[in-house]
Assembly symmetry: C2
Homo-oligomer: 149 residues x 2
DNA sequence: TGAATGTCTACAAAAATTGTCAATAAAGTA
DNA sequence: TACTTTATTGACAATTTTTGTAGACATTCA
């Protein structure tokens, strides 16, 4: 449960932009993501500063992706708000916190495995795939159970 | 960075017990784990309630593992303090929080992958392995770089 | 009885999270 | 130019989580 609400909203917003034809403004993003508009007012400029989206001000303005959806990974978006993806301070890639030697040899490698798996999964998912999955019809199994009822 | 200090202390304490011949009392555990004794006073009873350690009161008392170290997984200890291991509320196995349909089809499966990888890794590591790794000498590569300096 | 130990509960301080708001800047249009 | 629409910025308050401490108590042994 370590993904904060802001991170979640950010990924939803990027997904919405990946699915949209043209630009979306803050009100449209708030509706699409089910996020408070006032929070998106903080989230979107952060995504912009990170080079993930670009914005246009004034009437008809809004946000759009700064790159093709296939080139934006989930890892990239998550990192803007979460920073290090290691589950604990002594297992980060950059400047890990110090820890006892015994921990260094045992628990640290364990958490590094979790870290690497997380990075690998998030780095392997892009917003073209996510947008496609989001558009897909409900799966057969879901329809089947609906028919049963 | 989602592993809390208490969880970390708990895993260190179980590791210390897995490496110890006989029982360790709170003072010894505090020294071995580099955790405040007052925090272990809360952590150890929780481990006991979870059936991971057992305790003996009175002079000569202390804690020991309730099962062979090989039978205690890291997942089991972590779950006592973290509960659900999903990175976000709508990707838990039990009673996930509701989320928009679009998220349900795209981001949720992504986070479920992270959840499953985490559980798989933590469930595959036991405290016999951790204790062995903790006892091991520094690796050759480490000595080599030390010689260079 | 007294010393050594674990148990329980309440709590306070600090930190992180979540959301709101008001003031401002920029761009388009009449 | 004046007005409207939109993004930008920074400060902030409320809430929740985390972290650690402390005191009163229970149990066991010598």
């Amino acid at each position: 449960m370590w993904v904060t609400r802001r991170t979640d909203y950010a990924t939803r917003a990027v997904l919405a932009l990946a699915m949209a034809e043209d630009a979306l403004n803050l009100d449209e993003l708030a509706e699409a993501t089910e996020a408070p508009r006032s929070v998106l007012e903080q989230v979107m400029p952060a995504l912009r500063a990170a080079g993930i989206v670009r914005s246009v001000r004034g009437p008809g303005g809004g946000y759009r992706l700064n790159h093709p959806p296939a080139e934006v990974t989930l890892e990239r978006v998550v990192r803007v708000f979460e920073g290090q993806l290691a589950p604990i301070g002594y297992a980060t890639r950059q400047e890990p916190d110090p820890c006892p030697v015994i921990v260094e040899r045992s628990l640290r490698p364990a958490w590094e495995q979790v870290r690497d798996a997380t990075i690998s999964i998030l780095g392997g998912i892009n917003f073209a795939d996510l947008a496609e999955a989001a558009r897909a019809e409900p799966k057969a199994s879901v329809r089947t159970s609906a028919r049963r009822t």
